[in-house]
């Protein structure tokens, strides 16, 4: 059954235009698809090939291309294979359709992506704060957010050369190999 289904799936996907399919192994399929076709593709996979398990939605910020890449990982218990459906949406305004009506767990993933990247999913049940409930800055996983600059502006650092260490070194103790020398 599952072999037939795999054959049928490969044939079907190769027939559809604007879909780029790459079968990485017997259990891994990568599909690149236009944003407007993605919900239809997922519905097809779910309904016809029993890709019922949405493992995750991941987001990649391609700041040089001015695009967000959304990756939908769906798993089928029938064919025992994972489909990663990649799609790219423009970075501005960063709005996309929710697939909450197809996969209910998508609500969490979309809320997470909204929090970390600022991508808004239309039709998602809740786009409120999720994990960063006490964060008021920009979405921190966007490439333009400079975490290091933020940290240097917000926090102070422990002195790495305190007086007691200098005293120890005068007596001949202390750190024998300094970290910057060890890295060289």
């Amino acid at each position: 059954m599952s072999k037939e289904l795999n054959l049928w799936l490969d044939k079907l996907l190769s027939d559809i235009e604007s879909v780029k399919v790459k079968r990485n192994s017997s259990r891994r399929i990568r599909i690149d698809v236009e944003p407007r076709a993605l919900p239809a593709l997922l519905e097809l996979l779910q309904g016809r090939a029993s890709y019922v398990h949405l493992s995750a939605i991941s987001c990649v910020d391609w700041i040089d291309d001015d695009q967000f890449e959304l990756v939908y990982h769906v798993w089928s218990y029938e064919t025992n294979s994972l489909v990663s459906a990649h799609t790219r949406i423009p970075r501005e305004p960063g709005v996309y359709l929710s697939i909450y009506d197809l996969y209910e767990p998508a609500g969490f993933f979309e809320r997470d992506i909204h929090e970390m990247y600022g991508v808004y999913f239309e039709g998602s049940p809740d786009m409120g704060k999720f994990i960063l409930t006490e964060w008021n800055g920009p979405p921190p996983m966007r490439k333009e957010f400079d975490s290091e600059a933020f940290v240097n502006q917000t926090f102070e650092w422990e002195n790495y050369r305190p007086q007691w260490l200098k005293d120890l070194e005068e007596e001949g103790g202390g750190i024998s190999i300094r970290p910057e020398d060890a890295r060289r």
Binding site: E134, F145, E156, E158
Partner: protein
């Protein structure tokens, strides 16, 4: 294991500058912190009694391990039969109100830090704080992260740091033994620094959590109770706290999701 004798405030070097811009921690050099010197009592018998009390304190400590990060994984072997912390009289405790030591094991996110401060303030004095792992000293490998607090001792005083990523159970035990030694000799009095310099610690907390930050514990009243009020206890930050402070209200009781009618 590296044991760091923790002075009261951050930046215990000579390159400390006063910088009070928005979003920056308040820096302060150590000299401005009042230093507690243990007074020898005139009655020799009282000194013997004090020594006995400190010995007993050092030999029976309840430990609240606040497992924030990876370092927590070193505590089960330290507590159980292999390294057996309990032979030193240290055993885990479930609530902050009955604990003597607060162990912070690993990185502290800003959300977690709020809870840690609530926990710390609930503990009865004398209380001791141990920061385990490099993350509690200076952010460790998460130094670039927007979500973690870097220096634990900017928000409340720390008695002993056990550096390492992660320190082995031997190092943890060694640090605890150092703390016991400090208690016996009367040097472990960081909990007094919190009351004596509350304005400084509260200022750093407010910088991170916002002006409306308040805890259920009335630290100023406790400082008065312990007779630890100094000129550093009150200041601009405690004044700000008083301005925003809201009286505590009892939590609403609910049954089967139905809110109690007021």
């Amino acid at each position: 294991m590296a044991r760091i004798d923790c002075p009261a405030g951050p930046g215990n070097g000579d390159d400390v500058t006063k910088d009070k811009t928005e979003n920056t921690l308040i820096k302060r050099d150590d000299e401005s912190f009042p230093i507690e010197v243990r007074q020898e009592r005139t009655n020799p018998l009282a000194n013997v009694f004090d020594g006995l009390v400190r010995f007993c304190q050092a030999r029976s400590m309840f430990m609240l391990h606040y497992c924030t990060g990876c370092g927590a994984i070193e505590l089960p072997p330290a507590m159980t039969s292999r390294f057996d912390m309990e032979r030193l009289g240290i055993q885990p405790m479930v609530t902050p109100r009955q604990a003597d030591i607060l162990l912070i094991t690993g990185y502290v996110s800003i959300k977690t830090l709020k809870r840690i401060i609530l926990t710390y303030e609930q503990m009865p004095a004398p209380k001791y704080v141990i920061g385990i792992c490099s993350c509690t000293v200076n952010g460790g490998m998460y130094w670039q992260s927007y979500a973690t607090a870097k220096m634990l001792k900017a928000y409340f005083p720390v008695d002993i740091y056990i550096a390492g990523c992660m320190p082995r159970p031997e190092a943890v035990i060694e640090g605890l033994k150092d703390l016991m030694g400090d208690i016996k000799t009367g040097r472990a009095n960081s909990w007094k620094k919190y009351f004596q310099n509350y304005d400084y610690y509260l200022g750093n907390q407010q910088k991170l959590f916002g002006e409306n930050w308040q805890t259920p514990t009335d630290i100023v009243a406790e400082a008065q109770h312990y007779n630890l009020m100094t000129d550093q206890t009150l200041g601009e930050h405690t004044a700000l706290l008083e301005k925003h402070q809201q009286p505590l209200q009892a939590l609403g009781m609910s049954l089967h999701g139905q809110k109690e009618k007021a």
